[in-house]
């Protein structure tokens, strides 16, 4: 199977499709729901509220330092559910494959999806595979959707931030976007920057267990970076946000490349970091449990929620610069880096 390529027949629903699914997908995703091979999965769910999210992944290149489109697709949806305060349980996976895509690459991607699902503690219970003619899609696109239940004590939403709350970042910002950019053709700077692609549900779970409804907002700053996430929180909560540049964690290599390329790390995508808006009385306790988790080791306070709401500027995020000045952190306009996830 070393040089084998995906053919249009692999998406036909016939024999080759079956073989692809039964030989490649089923053994790796291995769970009782999927092996029933029904049109959909029939799931037992607890009573109460549910989080449901979907995301499509078109990252280019497919393989990059620190991950690939497979783990990104699983972690992305796991994280979206976790940011709703949900405990992610079940995922669907739909693959759109370009004719001619190497089967061994597909196997590596599926393997990465299976491992990511195992790490996150979720099951991929239903899926779909389509093959399109060469040129009709670029290599491989993946959509994942997922569901999870929301514990009764949890109440997080982008509209819940209140003046006096504290803003926490779980670690360094901008790693994923810069890792992708650096990998792309013609831009291989010799620095070790890995994508931070990771499931945040365990970290978020610890935080919510510790502080319950004292966690007001959770956001994973993916496309648009922390700047977009903070502006959304400000707009939806009708508050202002002040952050301190000197407190924003950025890895040295990422800061250097951003400086060189004229990018602002606040606008660069992350795939394994979260921002949390937390009741101020609980901050130290929340930081302590975060730092016990490998994904929250560098967690720190980056700013506060204020009453300086300015609707005309879609909320108002202000940065106190390291140089001692102030500036607005605006909502990003347009695409800074296309196909980053």
């Amino acid at each position: 199977m070393r040089d084998e390529r995906i053919l249009l027949d692999h998406g036909s629903g016939g024999l080759l499709s079956n073989r692809l699914i039964s030989e490649l997908m089923l053994p790796l995703f291995d769970n009782s729901f999927l092996s029933m091979q029904d049109d959909g999965a029939c799931l037992d769910v607890p009573a109460g509220r549910m989080a449901f999210s979907t995301d499509s992944f078109v990252v280019d290149p497919i393989f990059f330092p620190g991950g690939c489109i497979g783990d990104l697709a699983v972690n992305g949806t796991v994280n979206d559910i976790a940011m709703c305060g949900g405990v992610p349980r079940y995922l669907s996976a739909a693959l759109i494959i370009e004719e001619g895509f190497p089967v061994k690459d597909l196997a590596a991607v599926v393997q990465a999806m299976a491992e990511a699902a195992r790490n996150a503690g979720v099951l991929i219970v239903t899926g779909d595979t389509k093959v399109v003619p060469r040129g009709a899609a670029d290599k491989l696109f993946i959509n994942t959707s997922g569901v999870g239940y929301i514990p009764k004590s949890v109440s997080v939403a982008a509209g819940n931030a209140r003046p006096g709350d504290v803003v926490i970042a779980s670690g360094t910002l901008g790693d994923h976007g810069i890792a992708i950019l650096n990998q792309r053709e013609g831009l291989s700077f010799d620095v070790d920057i890995q994508s931070d692609s990771a499931p945040l549900n365990h970290l978020a779970g610890r935080m919510l267990e510790m502080a319950g409804s004292g966690i007001h907002v959770l956001r994973d700053p993916t496309r648009g970076g922390a700047a977009a996430a903070l502006n959304e929180i400000a707009a939806q909560s009708k508050v202002g946000i002040r952050i301190r540049e000197s407190s924003v964690p950025v890895a040295k290599a990422v800061a250097g490349l951003c400086s060189l390329l004229g990018l602002d790390p606040l606008y660069v995508a992350n795939e394994g970091k979260l921002l949390a808006v937390v009741e101020s009385a609980l901050v130290e306790k929340v930081l302590a449990v975060m730092r016990e988790d490998p994904l929250g080791r560098d967690a720190c306070i980056i700013g506060e929620i204020t009453g300086e709401y300015a609707p005309a500027q879609s909320g108002r995020v202000i940065m106190e610069t390291a140089a001692g000045g102030e500036r607005i952190v605006p909502m990003p306009t347009g695409e800074q880096l296309p196909r980053i996830c």
């Binding site: 140089a323 000045g325 500036r327 605006p330």
Partner: protein
Amino acid sequence: MAFDARYRDPDLCRRLSERIRSVRGREIRIMEVCGTHTVSVFRHGIRTILGESIRLVSGPGCPVCVTDQGDIDAVIAMAEMDHTIVATFGDLMRVPGTRSSLREEKSRGCDVRVVYSAADALAIARANPDRQVVFPGIGFETTAPAIAAAIIAASEEGISNFSVACSHKRVPPALEALAAEDDAAVDGFLLPGHVSVVIGLNGYADFFRKYPIPSVVAGFEPVDILSALLRLAEMIAAGSSGLENAYGRAVTDNGNPRARQVMDTVFYPVDSAWRGLGIIPGGGMALRKAFSGFDAFRRFSVRAAPAPPPAGCSCGDILVGKAVPPDCSLYGNTCTPLDPVGPCMVSSEGTCAAYYQYGGGL
């Protein structure tokens, strides 16, 4: 690596700004000529820490902004031709020409690709021998040498499907044009860092002889900019004038002779249309005869026809410091970074975009 945290040191920045504020005298106007400075000034909130005594005025140092609309139209016309690939710096994608932009042409099926250097564009030409690859040569003395090097390489390799639509500009003649404008009077110039790496402090000698206005070359980090502003404030308060270098770790008196030699091998100075400043004698570059075969305008018989600026757009005045973005009736209404009308709102280094993004009124 360009980034060094020492040049953003909060304590040093605080001490520098205190010293700037302690220089007594009337309110002074200093023009930061370079777009990268404009962005850095806003990103680091430098206007908010200077106090009332210094007014920073943004100048014409954003290459995309000063590129005449006719040049943009010409490149768009080349993109529309069969079998051409336009390989361009990303900044140019969204600049509106008279009736379209490269971004729109790409969505209609024209082959327009973003590259980070002219060498990347040349590589595309090598890989596509049956297509014509056009690189829009935008930029000052900073980018021109690398583009000249790509043209020399193409010439040596005999690559016949690569050409450059040359709109390069030269900074010192523009300084002379600015200094000659009475109503935009500035007390001092913050001179560009990157351009100076190439032309050196000596590159401004002619300008300074004609117009002895206090002028200091600066780097782009807050400490660089604040130390240059301090020198300017001190000179202006003392009534003295000098051409000085506050970016010693990158800029020398002589600049980079090798880069200049490459640039001069390929280009020669010509009069050139700058948006906002009109025709500036010696303000542009053209390909020398030996390399005229790489001139895209010639190859495709496309002339950059003068085009009127969009109605109501004040980019011309903003580029020379006669107006600030909020003075423009389009600013923030019909002209925003999402839907720009004028080039100062399109370019990431444009004054209007910097104002809009980082809160000019803060």
